[in-house]
Amino acid sequence: MKATIHITLKNGVLDPQGKAIENALGQLGFGGVNEVRQGKLIEVDLDESDPAKAEAALAEMCEKLLANTVIENYQIHLNDA
């Protein structure tokens, strides 16, 4: 089973990358861009085929390694094969 994990900065945490992208888009002439936030996308290919078990394993991976839960949130998306 494949899964995609979205890792995003928590609300209120400064996102210098996002801000810089926002400014650059403005300079390139793209109008109407209110806010940009940058996060990570992690694609995992797992042996596990049971969705509930896969999700539990992925959540544990996020807590232990993939996300820095002090400043980041994570969201798990299972891609149904």
């Binding site: 210098p16 990358q17 810089a20 992208i21 650059a24 300079q27 390139l28």
Partner: protein
């Protein structure tokens, strides 16, 4: 001759390279600000190392889109010599003046140390004062110096003799394809390299192997 160093917000080797250019030319280069849309006609343009625009998003990507780069590209196309060092090399690939891309080091860490380089091509506008195949020592300092291009591009670089510098195979600090440390355009007038010749252009700083990049281009252009 007229030389310019382009200063992006976040450039941090602009002064270092200006010091070397001044030593080689006997006169200070023009320091050109990224936001300027106009650039006086130059014989030599240097894109210095650093973290332009914080290197946020991708290294060099925002600098490649800054107003002054349109001028740089235009002058390069008309024959100005262009040297991109480290972040400057990343900018050159991002704006398409040189092929390929600089990816994150395979060791996943920033690496700052001396590396042994081979001058693979001494026929570029910048490398004429080195012997072909000469081994020199020049430091690197980067997190994204891992040169990558598809196989066709790599073959083309080899066939057209556009690999300017390679790391000694046992001394590749970043995993770059074919140990590539620097490449040039077809005419040998645009050179991009990850190592910092300006950091080794003076005996007090450990050696002078980098100095001939600057004296070489000044000689070529005078």
């Amino acid at each position: 001759m007229q030389a310019a160093v382009i200063v992006f917000p976040g450039s941090n080797c602009d002064r270092d390279v200006a010091v070397c250019l001044e030593a080689a030319m006997g006169q200070a280069p023009l320091m050109a600000w990224h936001g300027d849309a106009a650039l006086p006609k130059c014989d030599l343009i240097v894109l210095p190392g650093g973290f332009s625009y914080g290197d946020y998003l991708r290294c060099g990507s925002m600098a490649a889109n800054s107003p002054i780069m349109r001028e740089v590209v235009a002058q390069a196309q008309k024959g100005a010599a262009v040297l991109g060092i480290c972040n400057g090399f990343q900018v050159l690939t991002e704006c398409g003046l040189l092929p390929g891309v600089l990816m994150q080091n395979t060791g996943l860490n920033f690496v700052c140390r001396n590396t042994r380089l081979t001058v693979t091509n001494n026929k570029t506008a910048f490398t004429a004062q080195y012997a072909a195949g000469e081994e020199i020592t020049v430091p690197v300092a980067h997190n994204e110096g891992n040169y990558f291009a598809d196989d066709d591009t790599l073959k083309q670089l080899q066939d057209e003799d556009r690999i300017a510098f390679t790391y000694a195979p046992s001394d590749n600090p970043n995993g770059a394809c074919l140990d590539i440390a620097g490449i040039s355009d077809k005419a040998g007038r645009i050179v991009g390299m990850m190592p910092h010749p300006e950091r080794r252009a003076e005996a007090a700083l450990g050696g002078e192997d980098g100095k001939r990049m600057f004296t070489g281009i000044v000689e070529a252009l005078s």
